[in-house]
């Protein structure tokens, strides 16, 4: 592997790892707060899938980088400007509708994304993606089920679901940006071209929203920046909490 590809692959794997870690951390914040016990278990499962995926990806990123950093050094010892996740993954959990709206957007993207990535010429990424496909199938069934139930539930839940979608909608387009780093990896048969998934994603979301008696949000704003380390203010607080132990007691084994 040439130096450019190695650097790109590190960056790419880190991005996917950070997506999984920040979202998994957010979902874990639901512990003991779900609307009922079965849902505590479901969210626990989903959060664990993301944290487990983050561990595989960050471990691999450290191997590719080859500077001796392990999953924990990458997770706990980088500050906000070095984090590379999509903004949508770091947003606070909000209420249950906010969490499900975010999940629907992410899950509907991840399923085809990881299906494609499971064909990657990089065997480690292909393996991680293969596992992620099975998880994403369940995640999407879970989130679309809830969006339908809440959209087509009561007047109150319909209003909350519509509001949640309009708050998260503008974070969706960032998922479809393929920058130079990823384009080089797409050309090398390693990464997945994101733009190509957009129409299928849009159609999938529209099917769910139609069943949920919800309209596609009419919002004109959209933001991006996570891949460049330009984040919302929320992420700094998440990292302060998540990294507390490693920062307060540096260099120890736990």
């Amino acid at each position: 592997m040439d130096a450019q590809t190695q650097q790109d692959l590190f960056e790419y794997t880190l991005r996917l790892g950070d997506d999984a870690l920040t979202l998994g951390h957010r979902i874990s914040e639901w512990t003991s707060k779900a609307p009922f016990l079965e849902e505590d278990i479901a969210l626990g499962n989903i959060g664990l899938d993301f944290v487990g995926r983050a561990r595989l990806l960050l471990t691999y990123a450290g191997e590719v980088e080859n500077l001796g950093r392990d999953e924990d050094q990458l997770a706990y010892l980088r500050d906000i400007r070095q984090y590379r996740n999509l903004l949508i993954c770091e947003l606070p959990i909000g209420n249950f509708a906010d969490t499900m709206a975010r999940q629907l957007l992410v899950d509907a993207f991840e399923l085809p994304y990881f299906q494609a990535l499971s064909q990657s010429s990089d065997r480690t990424l292909a393996g991680i993606a293969g596992k992620a496909v099975k998880e994403a199938q369940y995640h999407l069934r879970h989130s679309s089920g809830w969006v339908v139930r809440l959209g087509d539930g009561t007047e109150e839940s319909h209003g909350k679901m519509a509001d949640a979608l309009s708050k998260v909608w503008g974070y969706g387009p960032e998922m479809f940006i393929t920058d130079e780093v990823e384009q080089r990896l797409v050309d090398a048969g390693i990464a997945v071209q994101r733009e190509e998934l957009r129409d299928g994603w849009q159609a999938q979301i529209e099917r769910v929203l139609e069943e949920a008696t919800l309209a596609v949000p009419d919002v004109s704003w959209q933001v991006d920046g996570g891949r460049r380390g330009e984040h919302t203010e929320y992420l700094g607080h998440m990292l302060a909490e998540m990294q507390f132990m490693q920062r307060a007691y540096p260099g120890l084994q736990w």
């Binding site: 512990t31 003991s32 626990g44 664990l48 561990r55 924990d72 139930r149 009561t154 736990w254």
Partner: protein, 318 residues
């Protein structure tokens, strides 16, 4: 009337015979009202303990010191939600609805294990809970695998398998700390200092003062007394503390070779009753968080119900 009395007597005799021959009582079997009531109280309290117990441990999920620890802790807390679910189902077989059990928890009518009214202040507390609190819970649950009520006994068999994994991971956290830096050792010792006595209290009041033990033993709901289980726990845990190089905070703790047991000091039952009565650091917060999650989720549960009803109506019309 006479026929009725004699049939009750007959049923009671049949029940007593089943208990005597160690057969299981199943949901549809006749059982004395007091047996049913005792089981509902005990199983629902056990379920509530699993559910409330998610809070002190959940308190460290977002601050776990490594990704491996984070994942293991998430899995553990999720297991506890699962245990809560089996136990609510077991209690429901006795005719008590989950909604009613939750209402009783939130009103304070039903209790949960008082140990969860203590705060988790440091990461070592997560180790101590796994090692000591789950260790104490297992003593009790292993016994309950042989409980006379079938659904409870079967639920316990399943729960015990997961709990022994929890205890091992707790011990492993303590071991890592005990072999770590001076700060980590101090953190582990401090956690042991704070969790030791409350763990001994988990077995309940001494036999001489336990209102329920005798009847529960006769019904074979319990197989060992509070004091017997407490002694087993001390006997098992003391060598583990030695292995960790930690000191159990009890100056009276010593090996009694003749008895083959450790002797230990007097539990502060005043503290136990104070915490049971609401004067622990976290009592109010635990219930408040449970109520808040429940109330915040009301609109979600209502929506799910409304949607399900609409779907059912549409299916019927079609």
């Amino acid at each position: 009337m006479k026929t009725h009395n004699s049939s009750i007597e007959h049923l009671q005799a049949e029940f007593d015979a089943r208990i005597a021959e160690d057969a299981k009582i199943e949901p549809k079997d006749w059982m004395p009202a007091a047996y049913r009531k005792t089981l509902i109280r005990q199983i629902s309290q056990h379920a509530h303990s699993e559910v409330i117990g998610m809070q002190p441990e959940g308190n460290w999920i977002t601050r776990a010191p490594s990704l491996r620890r984070k994942a293991v802790l998430m899995a553990k807390v999720q297991d506890e939600a699962g245990h809560g679910l089996y136990l609510y189902s077991a209690a429901e077989t006795l005719g008590m609805s989950r909604d009613q059990m939750i209402a009783d928890l939130q009103s304070g009518k039903a209790k949960y294990s008082s140990i969860f009214n203590y705060p988790t202040l440091s990461w070592a507390d997560i180790g101590a809970i796994g090692w000591l609190v789950d260790g104490a819970a297992i003593m009790n649950q292993v016994m309950l695998c042989r409980c006379s009520y079938g659904p409870y006994s079967r639920g316990m068999v399943r729960i015990c398998k997961e709990e022994s994994f929890h205890q091992r991971q707790g011990f492993e956290i303590m071991l890592t700390l005990a072999q770590g830096s001076e700060e980590q050792k101090a953190m582990a010792q401090d956690a042991l200092n704070r969790w030791w006595w409350p763990s001994l209290m988990m077995f309940g009041p001494p036999d001489s003062e336990s209102a329920n033990t005798e009847q529960s033993m006769a019904w074979r709901i319990k197989r060992q007394t509070n004091d017997e289980l407490r002694q087993r726990f001390v006997d098992q845990t003391t060598p583990q503390a030695d292995y960790l190089g930690l000191t159990i905070p009890d100056p009276d703790l010593k090996w009694d070779a003749e008895a083959g047991h450790y002797q230990f000091g007097e539990v502060d039952w005043d503290e136990f009753w104070q915490v049971v009565k609401g004067n622990g650091i976290c009592n109010r917060d635990r219930i408040r968080q449970h109520v808040k999650a429940h109330e915040d989720g009301t609109w979600v549960r209502e929506a799910a119900q409304a949607h399900a009803e609409r779907k059912a109506a549409a299916a019927e019309a079609a």
